[in-house]
């Protein structure tokens, strides 16, 4: 956000705004017919970034419904994710995560020098069931020390936050803990300077399902994030799942009447809060996903940095439903998209 400074100019401006109308008449502004002006003023397709990003590098549509590397072909997937049944019936889930520097395209044509987990921002979604054992083999292939700090229950030596727990470039560390408590969590780098390590892209979603599974639904992972491309501690780009206005061009397709569950995590840096607003619909809110009961039925939800919530809804009508941050500035800087609800016939 930008705070205009009070300059001499702005005083003059206040003084002359009153005469501006007369001036415009003198200056030939009659050519600008007000009706004519309206015609370009309401061409909404003029809004938003120009062009499209390269999806072969990172596809936000695939990210929505991918966890435990389910987007990879089986042979490749086994390099990053393995599960082993344990005597008590729970699973040991093993992950290969690595930190790597990579330029990512966040608005068409704008390349951000990101720090990533496995080459993508947000990092791969890790999903386990309450009571499973999670083992993350972490390699730092980046140029700076990094770590992984998981939210959830774990002993302090697995916290990844203390100076001694930083993993130096080229080194390796194994994080291991039980997946608890159930709910929607996150993971991120906890190396100082913290702000920079997070806003450059080292974060992802850590989802723990309850032992008694939630009702079947179309599940979507959404991370609200931002990018400070000119390093002035202010985001030039806001998005859900990294790419500005992506779902405006490729709407999130859902079925009318089917339960839709959104795992919504706020990882925006610099701005204290972010929000989610859905047009034409309301949703149930399960804050942090740690209780089975909904506390709220709303169409606008505010989340602080690091806060998250599970949202559930069923689309009542076919058609396009806009969703965006209700901070209009964020929306117009890229945090805006569409749901496309379809009936069986359509």
């Amino acid at each position: 956000m930008r705070v205009p400074d009070l300059t001499r100019r702005s005083w003059i401006q206040t003084a002359v705004t009153a005469v501006a109308g007369t001036v415009a008449a003198v200056a030939g502004a009659q050519d600008t017919n007000p009706r004519q002006r309206e015609s370009f003023g309401h061409t909404t397709h003029a809004m938003g970034p120009v062009g499209r990003t390269d999806k072969s590098i990172f596809d936000p549509s695939a990210y929505l419904r991918a966890w435990n590397f389910s987007n990879l072909p089986a042979s490749e997937r086994s390099r990053f994710y393995r599960e082993t049944r344990r005597p008590d019936g729970s699973l040991l889930r093993e992950y290969e995560l690595y930190a790597v520097d990579r330029e990512i395209e966040i608005v068409p044509g704008v390349y951000f020098p990101a720090w990533t987990y496995n080459g993508q921002v947000p990092g791969p979604t890790i999903r386990a069931t309450e009571g499973d054992r999670v083992r993350v083999n972490f390699t730092n292939q980046g140029s700076h020390p990094h770590s992984i700090h998981f939210h959830g229950w774990h002993p302090p030596e697995m916290d990844g936050s203390m100076p001694a727990q930083q993993v130096l470039p080229g080194e390796r560390f194994v994080y291991e803990f039980d997946a608890e408590p159930y709910g929607l969590h996150l993971y991120h780098c906890h190396t100082a300077p913290l702000k920079r390590h997070i806003h450059k892209g080292l974060y992802g979603v850590f989802l723990v399902d309850p032992r008694e599974a939630r009702p079947a639904a179309d599940e979507l992972v959404m991370v609200m994030n931002g990018f400070d491309t000119n390093f002035d501690a202010d985001n030039e780009v806001y998005a859900v799942n990294s790419i500005a206005s992506f779902y405006m061009h490729e709407p999130v397709v859902v079925d009318v009447g089917r339960l839709v569950r959104i795992y919504l995590v706020n990882l925006t840096e610099f701005d204290p809060i972010n929000s989610f607003h859905l047009h034409g619909m309301f949703f149930d809110v399960f804050r942090t996903g740690t209780r089975g009961m909904t506390e709220e039925h709303t169409d606008t939800l505010m989340l602080c940095q690091g806060e998250r919530a599970i949202l559930e809804t069923r689309f009542r009508y076919p058609g396009d439903f806009m969703f965006h941050a209700h901070q209009s500035e964020f929306a117009e800087l890229g945090w805006m998209g569409l749901f496309r609800a379809r009936t069986a016939q359509s």
Binding site: M1, R2, P4, R8, R9, S10, I12, Q13, A15, V16, T17, V19, A20, G21, T22, V23, A24, V26, A27, G28, A29, D31, T32, N33, Q36, R37, F40, G41, H42, T43, H45, A46, M47, G48, P49, V50, V107, P108, G109, V110, Y111, F112, F227, T229, N230, E236, A244, S245, E329, E332, L333, G334
Partner: protein, 403 residues
């Protein structure tokens, strides 16, 4: 000791050319070597981020939205990726492409529904995420370069330059009645006015030089303009005096001086016209109106400055009118240039020329005032100091209207 000196025969023409061109050829080789495998690359290393710089040259507001002319004045190529207006991504088209090389230029048309009288900020995001922005302080439709606009700028020039100077000239009959001390007071007043303009033009010129693309080296351009104008007026004065001596005219100096003052003021007013025209070009038309009112008041005093040196010389109406036109009409040309093909570079150059001309005129007048006395003593007398102060105060007070 023998002092045989062998006088070498003058070198042939071919050898002369060789001597002149050999260093140039070697220099070209050196440049080629630097560009081919330069030490600059070794210094910068492989991943060194490029130095990006974009300058906004012109902003037009119209029914099609905002049209921004942008130049890359940085050393490296710049790729324009996106445009934000008031912190919102907005579509745009470009007529010069979005990849700008050093000194490359493009025109971006942004179909943004700008609001009359509001402030808008246009911001360019490059491929590396660097941002460059320009604020339109008060949005008003930009006049298009058609007959109407030319007429409008002419009218502005007349308001600001021609009429006020002409009104100031009407003090001439009064000047002709004044005694010696009265005349000296008036000349001192003129010097005060001109000194004010000199400081003002220098400040303004250097300020614009700071905003102009660095490649144009605004401060040097300003100094060059000032020095050139100073020397040119000096030689013009000498030529005029020589001509008058030849024609054996007796009433020489006052009229020459008045003409020089008129030329100096004319050059300065050209710069002022540029500033007013440019205010419109940069989408600050509302500021331009305030400028017009201020300059009109301000410039009435310039007419007085032109007639003051005439003293009791007998001057016909025709000559007076000619002096007035020389002082005032350039404002029109300046407004045309500034309004239709504005670039800060022109402003800097012409403000420099105006400053140099004024400096020369100030020296001429003080010389004439002090006659055979040392300059400092004539300046130190009471009525002269009062005149200087009065000139400054008048300019300061009317200058406040310009802001």
């Amino acid at each position: 000791m023998r002092t045989d000196t062998i006088v070498a025969p003058p070198p042939s023409r071919g050898r002369m050319w060789l001597m002149a061109l050999l260093p140039l050829a070697l220099l070209a080789l050196l440049l080629a070597a630097i560009l081919w495998r330069g030490p600059a690359d070794m210094l910068r290393g492989e991943d060194y981020p490029p130095v990006e710089r974009l300058t906004f040259q012109r902003m037009e507001l119209g029914p099609e939205g905002i049209v921004a002319t942008v130049m890359n004045d940085g050393p490296d190529a710049v790729k324009i990726a996106q445009v934000q207006v008031d912190e919102a991504y907005w579509s745009f088209t470009s007529d010069g492409g979005t990849d700008l090389r050093h000194l490359g230029r493009t025109k971006l048309t942004i179909p943004y529904p700008w609001v009359q009288g509001d402030t808008h900020v246009v911001r360019i995001v490059t491929s590396t995420g660097a941002t460059f922005e320009h604020e339109i302080a008060v949005a008003v439709a930009t006049p298009q370069p058609n007959a109407r606009a030319l007429g409008l700028f002419t009218l502005m020039g007349i308001y600001v330059g021609v009429l006020p100077v002409a009104i100031g000239l009407l003090w001439f009959p009064l000047v002709a009645q004044l005694g010696r001390r009265g005349l000296e007071f008036l000349l001192a007043l003129t010097v005060g006015l001109l000194l004010f303009l000199l400081v003002d033009a220098t400040g303004e010129g250097l300020q614009i030089a700071g905003r102009a693309p660095e490649s144009f080296q605004g401060a040097v351009l300003f100094a060059f303009g000032a020095l050139g104008a100073y020397l040119w007026l000096e030689s013009l004065g000498a030529w005029l005096r020589a001509r008058r001596q030849k024609a054996q005219e007796t009433s020489g100096d006052g009229r020459v001086l008045a003409l020089l003052v008129a030329v100096g003021i004319g050059l300065h007013n050209f710069g002022e016209g540029l500033a007013i025209g440019a205010a419109f070009a940069l989408g600050e038309a509302a500021l331009g109106v305030l400028l017009i009112v201020g300059f009109t008041l301000h410039n009435t005093t310039e007419g007085l400055a032109i007639v003051a040196p005439l003293g009791r010389d007998r001057v016909g109406t025709g000559e007076l009118a000619r002096l007035g036109l020389i002082g005032g009409v350039p404002t029109i040309g300046g407004a045309w240039l500034g309004g239709l093909v504005y670039s800060p570079v022109w402003s800097v150059l012409f403000l420099g020329i105006g400053a140099g001309a004024i400096a020369q005129v100030v020296l001429q007048i003080t010389k004439q005032m002090s006659r055979d006395q040392p300059v400092i003593r004539s300046l130190a007398s009471g009525h002269v100091m009062a005149g200087l102060a009065a000139g400054f105060v008048v300019m300061y007070a009317t200058g406040m209207l310009i802001g």
